[in-house]
């Protein structure tokens, strides 16, 4: 299973989703207000019916006189009616005496905002296109009318037959003396309130979308900036120690006052300490060998004095062994000094132009004699390969590479020494068959005192300075040195790129 990895930006975007709680709370509030308004509407309707009933109560003759619709009653109704409400008066026999108004709101009251077509699919506006039942069909079934005719004012909310709107109705009895002579019924759809709610929700939605988009844009911009800074810090930190083990300083964010700046500065500090430690290690060989020379001279001169005095056979044997040990110690010191002496002398070495091909050719001939047990395959170009530098140093470089290659060569395959040209540079490569480079050592191979040898011949001390010397010489030639496994995987090639001198 792959573990999901979220980038900083995705995480911040997820956090921004919390902003959605705001419209949710807004919606709750709008619903609450709606409920409050509906109750208000109910009370208003009831008040209206009460007013009409009171008016009629004072004119009982209006109800009694006629058996059909009554114009005078209608005139009263017209006085209290409102747009989008309907008022009617019924008598005890459920006959409608008068009706005024219409449940549907007039079209001029319905204003459309520009965003409504965009949001219509999310938030439904109430429609005026509903089946408004006629009062006569409502009468027998309406419980609030029945209650009013029993003498109790009542209200009711009902759906229209096609369920497209909710109608709020209130009924109030009309008293004549002690008896109910009829009822006033006021009806109104909840559409005005619902459409107010819809509008509020629409505005809330728009506001939320706007704020969300703005906040998200800000967050993403911020996160992107953070990501970029962290990424550049990472890239720099990764390349701070280059392939040849040298340590450079960090530049990214070093001036910033925030945590990333802090991080970068502490990275820099760590790297600086690492560089100091590195320099200390590199100079260690030099200092150590200098310090060791005097005590070694004491031991050697003492042994030599001992030899001058008369002594037994045993003493001669031990002196000989001690001298062997000293000789070995001296070889170790010699190797330690080689790198530091080279470092010192590089600044004073005279640069000249020379034919690398001739130097490599001459050296290769010499190696055939110097390593009789090894075989060499040499590939040299026909023409001259002029480079700028020191031929002595180039030969020393090749010495180191060949010494390594011969030591690591397995199976009797020849050590391949090849010189060629690629892209304006001479490429000298020394390859041997044998075990491949240990994992993770490739970049450290050219550092001071780094060795991948497992066991060594005690008579041939290795301090891991050979390739370091090679690197110093390659850099003196403004070139670079790299080690890689052979493509076949059964050996190692070290290649040195030295820029060709200008023609």
């Amino acid at each position: 299973m792959k573990r999901w990895r979220f980038s900083l930006r995705v995480k911040l975007a997820l956090v921004a989703l919390l902003l959605l709680a705001l419209p949710w709370a807004g919606t709750l509030y709008v619903n609450e207000v709606e409920r409050f308004l509906l109750r208000g509407q109910e009370q208003t309707l009831l008040a209206t019916t009460r007013a009409v009933a009171t008016a009629l109560h004072e004119r009982p003759q209006l109800l009694a006189s006629s058996s059909g619709r009554d114009d005078e009653v209608e005139a009263i109704l017209f006085g209290v009616q409102r747009a989008s409400s309907r008022i009617w008066v019924v008598d005890r026999q459920h006959r409608v005496l008068a009706v005024a108004g219409d449940l549907r709101r007039p079209a001029e009251l319905l204003q459309q905002s520009w965003w409504q077509p965009l949001l219509g699919w999310v938030i439904q506006r109430p429609t005026e296109d509903f089946a408004a039942a006629l009062p006569e069909s409502e009468l027998p079934t309406a419980p609030e009318i029945a209650a009013a005719l029993q003498g109790t004012p009542a209200t009711r909310a009902r759906q229209t037959q096609d369920a497209r709107a909710v109608v709020m109705s209130a009924a109030h009895p009309i008293w004549s003396g002690d008896e109910v002579v009829g009822a006033v019924v006021a009806e109104e759809t909840t559409n005005p309130i619902v459409s107010m709610k819809s509008e509020a929700l629409e505005r809330l939605l728009l506001l939320t979308l706007g704020v969300f988009a703005g906040a998200a844009a800000l967050l993403i911009a911020f996160a992107t900036r953070l990501s970029l800074r962290i990424r550049s810090l990472r890239d720099e930190a990764e390349s701070a120690i280059d392939a040849r083990g040298r340590i450079t300083r960090l530049a990214a964010g070093s001036g910033a006052g925030d945590e990333i700046g802090d991080l970068s500065r502490s990275f820099s500090a760590v790297l600086e300490r690492l560089a100091q430690h590195h320099a200390y290690l590199e100079s260690m060989a030099d200092r150590l060998s200098h310090e060791l020379r005097t005590p070694i001279a004491v031991v050697r001169s003492s042994l030599e004095n001992l030899k001058l005095s008369p002594q037994g056979a045993d003493a001669a044997r031990y002196i000989e062994r001690a001298e062997e040990g000293l000789a070995r110690l001296n070889r170790i010191l010699g190797r330690m000094m080689e790198a530091s002496r080279l470092e010192q002398s590089l600044s004073t070495v005279e640069r000249s132009r020379y034919d690398l091909s001739a130097v490599v050719g001459a050296c290769a001939e010499a190696y055939r004699m110097a390593y009789p047990e090894a075989s060499f395959a040499v590939e040299l170009p026909e023409r001259r390969m002029e480079v700028e530098g020191s031929p002595d140093l180039a030969a020393q470089l090749l010495d180191k590479l060949v010494e390594n290659a011969v030591d690591f060569s397995r199976g009797g395959a020849p050590v391949r020494i090849a010189l060629g040209e690629t892209g304006g540079a001479a490429v000298l490569s020394v390859a041997n068959k044998g075990r491949s480079l240990p994992e993770g050592m490739r970049s450290r191979l050219f550092g001071s005192m780094v060795s991948v040898r497992e066991t060594g011949d005690p008579a041939k001390p290795h301090l891991g300075l050979g390739l370091y010397v090679a690197r110093l010489i390659a850099e003196f030639h403004a070139g670079r040195i790299d080690a890689a496994d052979l493509p076949s995987g059964d050996g190692v090639a070290v290649s040195v790129r030295l820029p060709l001198a200008w023609k």
Binding site: E304, M337, R341
Partner: protein
């Protein structure tokens, strides 16, 4: 031993009983060891630990040869200053630097101050004795009239094996003993490649390849100063050097 035979080849170790050698060395163990070894070989030895002490004693009576360490305790370049003072006191006094410091800079500085040779402390006692003997011989013969000479001539090069002096196209080339022996080793068999190890052996030197390279470089420079067309010392890359006739 190679060193012993080299010393013997120059034919003189035990005969100069009255020679007086001064050692200026800050390390007491090394100082005592060298002093005792030289005494066993019949030299009269005066050993000093510091510059002031040595200068005070040597000014009143100059020795026949001086071995100087460069770093004298806290006086890190005391040996250089002492060499300058002694050279000012006597132009012919043989002076050898015997030191742990072996950077090119130190070698060049030491020789420029007029030392006759520059040895690192890796040098073995027989090698050191061979050099001391050779320097005494050179000093002795420099004063004497031209006697029967032991010479090696290779084209424009003339080597006087008794006086350890060299001329190129008639011009004297001032060589240290080490350099002289290297030129001798190269020129003895022209066109033969001498490896660095062979050169080291012939010059009674125990050093590493890098030092040989800088010796050769200095040699070339000295010859080039006398003759800008000098090209007799040839580098054979990967092997060593040869004398081109």
């Amino acid at each position: 031993m190679a060193g012993a035979s080299a010393a013997a080849a120059f034919g003189y170790i035990h005969h100069e009983m009255s020679r007086r050698i001064a050692i200026i060395e800050d390390d007491p163990a090394i100082r005592a060891n060298y002093a005792e070894a030289l005494r066993k070989h019949g030299f009269e030895v005066a050993a000093y630990a510091g510059r002031g002490e040595a200068l005070g004693a040597l000014r009143t009576r100059l020795p026949d040869l001086v071995l100087i360490d460069i770093g004298l305790g806290a006086d890190i370049d005391g040996g250089f200053a002492l060499c300058r003072d002694l050279r000012a006191a006597s132009a012919s006094l043989p002076i050898i630097f015997l030191t742990a410091r072996d950077s090119d800079f130190d070698v060049v500085a030491g020789l420029r101050l007029g030392a006759d040779d520059y040895l690192t402390k890796e040098v073995s006692l027989p090698h050191l004795l061979a050099r001391i003997a050779a320097l005494f011989r050179r000093a002795e013969l420099a004063a004497a009239p031209q006697a029967i000479e032991e010479r090696l001539e290779r084209g424009a090069l003339q080597l006087d094996l008794k006086r350890f002096s060299a001329t190129w196209r008639g011009a004297a080339i001032s060589l240290t003993l080490t350099e002289f022996w290297m030129v001798h080793a190269l020129a003895k068999f022209p066109e033969h490649v001498k490896t660095r190890e062979q050169l080291m052996r012939d010059a009674n030197l125990v050093v590493d390849d890098g030092t040989i390279t800088s010796h050769i470089k200095r040699l070339r420079r000295k010859f080039l100063a006398a003759d800008p067309a000098f090209a007799a010392i040839d580098t054979v890359y990967g092997m060593g050097y040869r004398w081109k006739s």
